[in-house]
Amino acid sequence: MDQTLVAQARQGDREAFAVLVHQVSDSLYAVAFRILRDSGRAEDALQNALVLAWRRIPRLRDPERFEAWIHRILVHACYDESRRARQWTASVRVVSVGGHSTPDGTHAVADRDELERAFRRLSVDQRAVFVLHHYLGLPLVEVAELLEIPAGTARSRLHYAIAGLRDALTADAEPIAHGGRLA
């Protein structure tokens, strides 16, 4: 990331900021989509995050941290989008309709639809840690720094995310395993 551009943007240079936006928007959108699992909400989160970043960039103390900083703004925009979505979306219990052939869940893990459903059951802050760690490949310490949370909290959220995925996959698999009755 060109720190000169960041410095220019901090001074109010819109063209410099636009160049930065084009450099980071793909990554930001990819992260937003993976956290929110919805392209429309991911677009809204991206748009809001970019505008907020423009307003707040004078506060950015260390230009070297621009990418981490703007990803943090994006994650918070995702939190807001998720909160807004919850106000309008009824909680739906998704019922599995097949595709399980073994009771040990091997097939379930391979099933993308099952993963999608299981992931959606995680809290948005668990999803954020999971995506930043497993998709962006950030070490947990950096995830914690990016989200401004203690490292232990990041570790705990990741732990509960994995446990949540496992439980959700197991729950989907169980009715089949116990006689093939749908829940």
Partner: protein, 246 residues
């Protein structure tokens, strides 16, 4: 096989499959919005003064301690002494909103009622020719096709009545159209609007979404027969100026 490592591997592979390029629409919309959005100003306060000698440092600490003791004393003393004069209103219209009066609802165009009555602001009421006029923030702040609008209100307006019991003219700065709940950026603000020395003075008394801004006071010169409000060194958290809406 549903051990955590195989689960993580499967989930990682699944995560890789999503989109990797941002659509043009949100990026272009954001860049358009940025064209008319001003940046937040930052007060640059150094954490420590360079080359401060030990004597100065001790003196500084002592001064801060004295000020702190004074503030505590003023805060805890009885509000009126026996036989003493009642306190006079201060010259500045700045007020401190009690903590209990702070975040009340998600900021919208709703009338906000502070938990405790706000003190009467100093200065004079707005002249009648300013009341009811609406202005856009200058430079304009536009987000998702909504813009920030200042409205100057009479003492009998519902917003002013809620804050001051009808004893003061007031203002609102709100998104128009009304913001969507859950928006990340909402500097919606309300407070007293008074005339001091021929200038308009607004005090940010209720700023539910940005508590550090509460208490900021900004002064505006009234130009072009009230069509333009020009900030006179407005502090952070306030607005550089306003232009009347047609």
């Amino acid at each position: 096989m549903t051990d955590d490592r195989s689960l993580e591997r499967a989930a990682r592979s699944w995560l890789e499959e999503g989109p990797t390029r941002a659509p043009d629409r949100p990026v272009e919309a954001a860049l358009r919005a940025i064209e008319s959005t001003s940046q937040e100003r930052v007060l640059r306060i150094p954490w420590r003064l360079p080359r401060m000698n030990p004597i100065t440092r001790v003196a500084g600490a002592a001064l801060i301690a004295v000020i702190a003791v004074g503030v505590v004393f003023l805060a805890v003393r009885p509000s009126s002494g026996v036989g003493g004069p009642s306190p006079q209103p201060t010259a500045t219209p700045s007020v401190t909103v009690p903590a209990s009066a702070r975040p009340i609802v998600e900021p919208t165009d709703a009338v906000l009622v502070p938990a405790t009555q706000l003190p009467d602001p100093s200065g004079a009421a707005l002249p009648s020719d300013l009341i009811g006029r609406t202005y856009r923030v200058n430079p304009a702040e536009i987000l998702n096709n909504r813009q920030l609008v200042l409205t100057l209100r009479g003492a009998d307006d519902a917003h002013c009545t809620a804050m001051f019991g009808g004893r003061s003219t007031c203002f609102t700065v709100l998104w128009d159209p009304v913001k969507v709940l859950g928006s990340t950026t909402d500097p919606a603000a309300r407070g007293s609007a008074r005339m001091v020395g021929g200038n308009l003075v607004i005090s940010m008394d209720l700023v539910p979404s940005d508590l550090p801004c509460v208490g900021n006071v900004a002064t505006y010169a009234i130009d072009d027969a009230g069509a333009t409000l020009r900030g006179i060194d407005p502090p952070a958290c306030t607005f550089p100026g306003f232009v009347e809406l047609p």
